[in-house]
Structures are given as structure tokens and as C-alpha cells.
Symmetry: C2
Subunit: 563 residues, 2 copies
Amino acid sequence: MSTHWRELVADKRRRQNESIPKEWLITTPPQSLLDVTKVPEQCGLLSAKELDITNTVDVAVLLNKLATSQWSAVEVTTAFCKRAIIAHQLVNCLTEIFVDRALARAAELDEHLKTTGKVVGPLHGLPISLKDQLPIKGLETTMGYVSWIGKYATRDAVLVEILYDLGAVPFVRTNVPQTLMWGETYNNVYGRTLNPHNRTLTCGGSSGGEGALVAMKGSPLGVGSDIGGSIRIPSYMCGTYGFRPSYGRIPYAGAVNSMEGQDSVLSVLGPLSNSLSGIKTFMQAVISAEPWLKDSLARRKKWDNDEYALVEHGSGKQLCFAIMWNDGQVIPHPPIIRALEMTKAALLAAGHKVIDWQPLQHRELCRLVYLIWTSGSGEDYKAVTAATGEPVLTSMDIVDENSEPTGTLNTFLPEQQHVSAYQLWQVQKEKTALRQKHLEHWNSTVQSTGTGRPVDAIIAPVAPYTAVPHGMNKNRRMTSSTKGMRIPMSYVIALSSIRFREFIRKANTASFYLPDDPATFSDAPVGLQLVGRSQEEEAVLAMTEIVDSALSQYKTSTSASRL
Amino acid sequence: MSTHWRELVADKRRRQNESIPKEWLITTPPQSLLDVTKVPEQCGLLSAKELDITNTVDVAVLLNKLATSQWSAVEVTTAFCKRAIIAHQLVNCLTEIFVDRALARAAELDEHLKTTGKVVGPLHGLPISLKDQLPIKGLETTMGYVSWIGKYATRDAVLVEILYDLGAVPFVRTNVPQTLMWGETYNNVYGRTLNPHNRTLTCGGSSGGEGALVAMKGSPLGVGSDIGGSIRIPSYMCGTYGFRPSYGRIPYAGAVNSMEGQDSVLSVLGPLSNSLSGIKTFMQAVISAEPWLKDSLARRKKWDNDEYALVEHGSGKQLCFAIMWNDGQVIPHPPIIRALEMTKAALLAAGHKVIDWQPLQHRELCRLVYLIWTSGSGEDYKAVTAATGEPVLTSMDIVDENSEPTGTLNTFLPEQQHVSAYQLWQVQKEKTALRQKHLEHWNSTVQSTGTGRPVDAIIAPVAPYTAVPHGMNKNRRMTSSTKGMRIPMSYVIALSSIRFREFIRKANTASFYLPDDPATFSDAPVGLQLVGRSQEEEAVLAMTEIVDSALSQYKTSTSASRL
């Protein structure tokens, strides 16, 4: 290596700073201010209209105002660019910032609408943030690797191309953990992203930059990726909606990734947003663009309105949900149990049925997935980082960022060395068998639902805790049962966090290694995930809307003190 | 091993012989009779009605006669059982034979139709043969392995369960090559299956038992599997239709397989039949049974009538086909070139457009797929055969079946030893990139079709030669460009052989290692494959019908001597 990796980082950070318009710098609050979600409204940078725009969390409303020229694309883009940069100064969520490019695109869109009277597409004028995996022609894609600084894209990822075609306005990219294989967000290039609700807590990961940015309302819609929880964890920990689609429904071609060539347990792209309308709009628009014509791994399955109408689920009239109270290993913290209890009560009040889900071999499922990933991950990380000699991180703990990380490959990185292809096949074979067993387990619930169908969906925790202090969302052991709930299971196809507006005011004694002071978790959001059958995104969205609405009604009709 | 493997084979063969009703044994013709396709009609075992039934190649007609009680299920099943057993005595195509079970099922179906007036399902009463990978509860599944003799299934494969639900009558299983990874059909348990048109030639493989049986009209519909040509090669070499669907459209769960856990280049199940109506009926019926509810790897994609109506292909009015004259490496034998020329002329005469396909990196594609398979195949074969010590075959050459095979692992079996998981990932990564490149290559043809669309389908050879003498379909080197045309490419999703009724009467000098005496190939069928976009089975079927019909018309209107 000709240049010390820290010099490369310093240069990149300098260039990042230069990409921020000076007039958008704010006086940042003291570190002791933990909840920074109100700062954008208080800092004075945003005009009343810009606040109005960025506080419009319903993406359908936003798109309507854009389509009817009530707000121009330049106005909307400017507002979100400003708020995103405010957010970045508070929680360090951005990587590439390309305001000029976004504003030029927005101006084009405005011109098109003005001259033709028509929108370019269903996402006309909508600013969209992208996880730092999605190359845009002419921009760098570092994905948290020092060794990738200076790697300029020669073409857009397929999803980016489609988003442009749909009228969207990509405007920033967002931070990730090194390797992407952590449930927090920290790397040697950009450092750590913080949780906007409590900056001493992690924002989750790996799509942590997206989770934090969207929670700050710095983006109406973000794109993350998820292999073992990387959309669900940050959307949950930051209190946004997040959606993990099945393999291949959103095109991945042209995105950069970790562990490329690992063909058994795949990562998927999916949206984060503060509204379910944002999630649905994204899914429907991208699928309607026929991504399978452009991505050899994308699945040819059109958006299915019958599935969205829950035709296969009794038209949604009386659904039967199964509650997964725990994964058979770890009892979640009390706030999460309360969330499950409240959801159960809300669903019963709305006329649906609820049964208990019997967890099945979560520890084994985690073990198999961990073995698959780690069969080659260590060599992958070493190969990628070799160019600059940047250290491979061994934990997400807070380290003195001015000192040299000294990590040796002894914690998250696999003990497995030189696993043979044949050994890997044996594990993959076991995984496929266990997926099939899970599907049959799901089907067997037809005996206990009383609807004539197996359960329509599972309601489950995303984690046994809320957001935790930095370094404590320990996914170094995927075999740990605490991760079971985040691992894509056979039938787990699509997941959406259900946001509870109530934050935790007190927490009980933590069950294992977490601090037992409830104040530690103050203001951390609580959420749940809805787990549907594979490739049934339309139905999962519709059922999430039903659960969301049942919860709203229930919360209105009962005392909030019950939480 | 407590028992010498040859004793196990002798016992299994004895039990197989016992499963054949004695009264159905025929006086077999001398070995010198090469074309045995006429023997069933001449041997005197089949009644006029049984000949009428088994000569009804149009599966839609057969199903209609069953549904309207013109023919009972017992009559139809009896007829095909008898003809299958005649075929078996001529070309050695069967493994498990379960006439009693089939007749009992057929009687149940007759009873149901009689008492309710309704068919059980869209395949009511249709006998279906199955490749020896599809377990049926209570029967052995050996898949050509001595070590699996005595392995009785405790449940049906998902596809078998669905076929029973649809009203089908499974009645025999069919022969395969050891390991399934050969383009011929020979194993230590059942020996070799021969080509019915010329018994000195291979029937192809690995679904060779199906190809030979269907060509003998011993089954109206067979189920094979295909990873690198295993449905296409035997259907082509035996002169039947064959269809290789995309991953996951036909459920694989519960089937046994070679190299299980190899998750990158997957095998798929698909139909063989003497009619396109058979192919379509099978695909539509199985997909309509919603296999994704029962198989965790099956794809949720309903049968799409719009796709079958070619809505995305200009409603089929003026299609543009690309002819792949060769794979950029090997020029096919003259009969195959003539078949391509005739197809081109027929399509032009029918008002369609035809352009040339530019082959792209077939050698590289083959090399990558070969590296993926062989990264663990050697260990897989050794592990499976270890229980009895049966030899792992090293070629498909004719050996003296009374002598001990002496093969050492030096030819087909991989030189690669101890490939690491990480190394495998690197190859898989290259493969994914090349698939994407192929898709973009396909899309780029929009510049030259003149239809405003990229090419609608490719018409390609299945192999550069017709059926060849036993042992000469050398797929020991998948890197050999001769295999390029059979390898599933990025966009290759579904393929169907287009049968030419004309057989080769003369062949030109073979281009490489084949005998240069045209008489060698006498009576070998010629066919082609139609290659469509991924997951577009409905459109591929519709386009195959269009090509088939254009060829029929063309052949009627022109002199047969032109072939």
C-alpha cells in the first residue's frame, strides 16, 4: 500500500465535508442532548414550507402534491437535502452527498411536468436516499471500506436506473458497518451512525444510515438491504417502517455487496419509510417497472392486486395471526412483551383471531446460516481490505477513533478456516431441509386457526430488546438465540416493523448482558415484525396495514397508560 | 460392507423382474433389430383398443376421453403399463414398476367419476412416468446407486403428492445414469438404456429412461429433471418434446438428487411428452396446484394467461427469433444446420422475423458451471457409494457388464480437490456476472429486430450432433464448447425440443471424434430447442406452438426432399 489508510480516510472525509453547502451547517447541540429528533424543527435552518414538506410523512400525499405542482420537485428536493444534512450533523448518517446532481434532476422533472403536463413516473419528484451499496454513475461507492475509496461507478445499479425512470430523485447515500455483517453501523471511513432518539444507543444495522436518516425525516423513502435483519433492525431501532422483500422482487444487479458469490442465503433490497404508503408505493412502482427484464436474478412476478386484496386470506375479513412470544431461547424485555400483548388485544378487538406460534429450531437455523456465511467471510474481508491494510473490525464497541484499531480476527470473524466446498454443501443441504420443515410447520397450523387456512401471518419481535448502547447489539454470534428472530426463516419473506408511537419510559432488568438501568434505553422506539409467506409481499403489506390500523384504533380507544 | 454390491444388484434385479406380470413378457427381437419403435404394434400383446389408446399422442385428447368415460382409467392405465413393459424389454428403460398400485388408483378414479360425475382433477386418469428421483411412499428410490437399494420412501415427493391430487396415475419410474451428471443413461444397478430409434445409439441423459419410454409411447407424459440438459438431451435424442422450466416453477421438495446442497446452479423438474398439449397440460396443472404452498423453494408465480397469449410479445403476430447457428466453438452436423435452415424458412413464411444470434462466451459459461459442480461432486459421489463400495463410473463407454468395472477417478470426476468455500464463491460470483452480461446481450438485440422489442426467443441446437453411439456423448468436459448449447444461460429458462418427423438418412463427416460413417446415426431424430427469457414458461410454450405449427405448414407446402 502506497498510502496509509488513515490518509485516504482524511481525504475522503474532507471531500465529504466539501460536498455540504456551507450555509446548511448548523450550530450543533451538546453531546449531552440525546434525543435529537426535534433539532431540525428548532435549529432555524428550515423554512415553514420546508418543515411542512419534510413533516409530510405520508409519501402518497407528498407524491400527490408533487404531481399537482403544489410543491415543485426542486422545493421538495431542497427541503429534504437540507434536513438530511441537518440530520447528518447530528447522527452522522450520510456517505455520498450530491445535492447539485439532485437539484439538477429535480429541475428537469419540474420542466417536464410544466411542458407536458405529465409526471415522468409514479415517483415523480420524490427524493430517495440509498444505502451505500447502490452505485450511481460518476460517484464513488465505498460501502464502508477504505480500500474502495476512489472507486467511481461507470454505470448506475439496475435499481437506481429504474428509480430514475420512475421519476425519483436520488440525493444522498447512507452509512453502513464495515462488511455489512453487523447489526450496528460503524466503519473506518465514516465512523459511527447514532440513534436519533438517543445518541448513546445504536441505530442498528447494517442499513443504519437509512434508519437514522429516515427517523430524522431527512428522507421520505430510503433503500436498504437485508440478509439477516439489516433493514428490519435499523427500522425497528430507529422507529420507522421497514420492509424486507423476498429474494429477487427488487433488483440487486449492479449493487455492490459483501461476500459476493455466496449464493445460498441472499441479501435483498427493500424500502424504509415513515409511512406504509411509502413502502407500498416503492414496492408497487419498482415491481411494475418489470425489473426481471434488466436483472438476471430478479423474479418475474407482477404486482398482484388479488394478493393485495388478500383473496387467498379470506379477503382479510377474519385473519388468524400467530404471536411468537419468544424464539424458544430468550424472553424479550418487558416493553416488547407489552407490544405483543397490545397487538394481540388490538387484533382481537378488530375481529381477528390470534394463536400462539410455536418456535421451531431457531438455534439450529441460526447455526446453519452462520456456518454458511462464515465458510468464506473471513477470506472475503481480508481480500477486500488488503489493498490499504485498513483493519478488519472485530467488534462494534466504541473505540478511541484517534487510536489505531488493534483488532485481531478473534470475535465476529469466523473460526472456520478452509471450509471445503463440499462441507459447505452439507450445511446448505441441512438449511434447505430445515426451511422445508418450517414451511410444513406453518402449514400444520391449519389444525388450530379455525379459519380453514394456516395462519395468515406471524407477529414477532425483531429483537429481544430495543435499541441498545453502542457495541451491545452483539451479532458476533449468530448462533445466539437472540438473533433467531431476525434470521430469514423458510417462510419469512417479507417483514415490516409496526411502529409504536409510545417510547419506553421504563425498562425492566435486562435478561442477560445488557445494563440493568432502565434509563439506558430511554426514548428507544419499540416495534414488531409481521412475517408472511414467501413471495407474498402484496399480502404482507395489506396485512401490515390491517395490523397498523387495528393498533391505531385500539390506542385511541384505550388508555395509553396500559402500555 | 457386509454384502458385495453385485449381490445387492442381483437381488434388486430379481425383484424388478418379479414386478413384471409374466403374461406381458414378449419374444424379444434379435439385437440386430436397431429401430424397435414398431415392435409394440407388431408383437401382438396389445389389443386394438390398447394400441388406439397408446397411439393417442395428444394428451388433451386422451384426457378428454378419460373425462367423458369413453375410456376408463383402468383401461388407459393397463394399456400404458403393458406398452411400458414392452418398451422396457426392448430398451431397458424402467426402474420401479408398480402396476398393481397404479391399477388400484385407476379403479378409485373410475369409481369417483362414476359416483360423482366429476373428475378428480385436470389430470384425471392420466398415467405418468417418473424419473427415478421422485420418491413414492413405500417404494424404493435407488437413483442408480447400489448403495440406495432398500431405501424405502416414507412419504411422497411434493410433486408426486400434487400429481395424485390432480388425478394422475403414477405407474413406473425410469432409468438414470449414476450421479445424474451424464448425458447418457447407465448405472451399476439397472445397466444401460438404449435409444428406441437405433439401439446402438444412446438415448441421452440423464432423464434417458423417460426419453426412451415416451418415444416408445409407453407413457403419455413423463417427468424428468434438468441441470445442464438432462431433459433436453434425451427428449432431443429420442425425438420427443421436452421442457426445462425455470428454477422453482415445478416443486422439487422431497425429490432425491445428486450433489445436494449445491445451491448455485440448480436442477429443475419438467415434463417430456409426444405432444405439446402434454407439456402444456402438465405445466398448467401443476402450477395451478400452487406448489409454493408446499415447497419452500418453489416460486409463487401463478399460471399467466396473458403471458401465454404473448401480450408482451406483440400478441405473437410478428415475432422475431434469433437463430443460434453454433456456439462460437463447434459447427453442428449438417442435419442440424438443415433443421435450423428449415425452421428459419418456415418462420419467414409464417410472417415472422429471423435474425442471427451472436453467441457470447459459451466456453467461459461452461467452464464456470463445471467448476461449480466439480467443487464438491467427487466427494459427493464417494460419500454416496461408500456404503457398498460400488465403483464410481468414469465413463459411459460400453463395458463388459459381467466384468468388474475398474474405473479410477480420472476422467469425468473432478481433478479439483479440496476447493474452499471461498474459492467456490469467487466462481459463483463470475457466473452471476456472466448471466447478467447475457441478459444485457439479449436486451441489446432491440437494435436489430425491427419489432421494437429484443428478440422474442432463440432457436438453437440442443447438441452439435444427433444421438451418438453409446459412450460418445462425452460430457466429461463441460468446458468443451459442444456443451455450451445445453447449459442454462442467464436468460435460458425454458426449452422445448421441436420434433422433426424426418430422420437423418445421411450424415456428413463428423467434425471431431465421432465415426464418419453416416450409417452410424441412422434413424436418429433431429430436433432443436427454443430458448426464452427466464421464468416466462407460458410465453415459451406459446412460441413453441407457433414454431411447431409454422414447421408443419412449411413441411406440407414444400417437398420433403429439401431436408
